[in-house]
Amino acid sequence: MAPAKPGDAAFANVDHVNAELFTLTYGAMVRQLLTDFEDVEEVNKQLDTMGYNIGIRLIDDFLSKANVTRCSEFRETADVIAKIGFKMFLGVTATVSNWNADFTECSLVLDDNPLVDFVELPETCQGLYYCNVLCGVIRGALEMVSMRTEVKWARDMLRGDDAYELRLKLIEHVAEEYPYKDDD
């Protein structure tokens, strides 16, 4: 028997939703944001913020169900995101590549991207990062486990590139910092 891939168990453990419903819901949301904000840059920002708000909650879901332990280094973190995180929540995996010399920056190349089935970007939306929500999710999730990161799209097939590639950059480990909110 072929050895099970690391994300398969996590994927099997969670409830699934019809992929088209998911894709269409996401599409309707992006479309509504474009209508509301009328500015592609602003929509990119909103998608990232929405993703961030999802990420800070989703991380606990991931940790409680994926049976992972604390990562010892950022390389391991990237691997866990690519193989288990993406599998658990999107049903796809990603490939980690292009590490920089001190292993703080890497690329996640998505093997498949269910968010963009049926999508064609019109002329008017050329600057849109349609899947920008994913950047926010990863940033939010990692922030809750003490890692400040920057996540950006490096390649996007909707914009004519040949792959979906996220660039993940570790800015710093924030150790034991209590998140006092700036309410004042």
């Binding site: 879901d61 940790l63 209590y178």
Partner: protein, 139 residues
């Protein structure tokens, strides 16, 4: 026979966000529960500093003459702890299940504000079911 006396959930800043007591012997009023929760948060942090080796994640079990305190801290630094009978078994697994309920019925509730006190009926309901089930298993 009840095996669990109280359940506390503390957010990463040390604030008590959930408290529940089981059984009549161990009721705490709101002030006491808040005070005990923040004390535990500090003791947990001190235990990390006491550790002779790096990588310690704090107290997991405190055994007293009359009870056991089991603590589980998620990697996101939310603490779940229960005061249970001495020698109660299966509490680690119970805490993990409570963590799952928390992610499902608290964090996924779009109207729950992260880090704030938990007032979610679905969470209460599933938690009550879990504790009830657990009790009947342990009896």
């Amino acid at each position: 026979m009840a095996s669990i006396y109280n359940l506390f959930i503390i957010n990463k800043s040390g604030g008590l966000i959930y408290y529940k007591d089981y059984g009549s012997t161990s009721k705490l009023d709101t002030n006491d529960s808040l005070r005990l929760a923040s004390l535990w948060h500090s003791m947990h942090a001190i235990s990390k500093q006491l550790s002779p080796t790096p990588g310690c994640t704090g107290i997991e079990l405190l055994q007293a003459t009359a009870f056991d305190l089991h603590c589980f801290q998620s990697l996101t630094e939310t603490k779940f702890f229960v005061v249970a009978e001495s020698g109660a078994i299966g509490i680690e697994a119970l805490l993990k299940t409570i963590y799952e309920l928390y992610t499902d019925y608290v964090l996924k509730n779009p109207f729950y504000e992260v880090e704030m006190p938990i007032r979610c009926e679905l969470f209460d309901l599933h938690l009550a079911r879990l504790i009830l089930r657990d009790k009947s298993v342990l009896v």
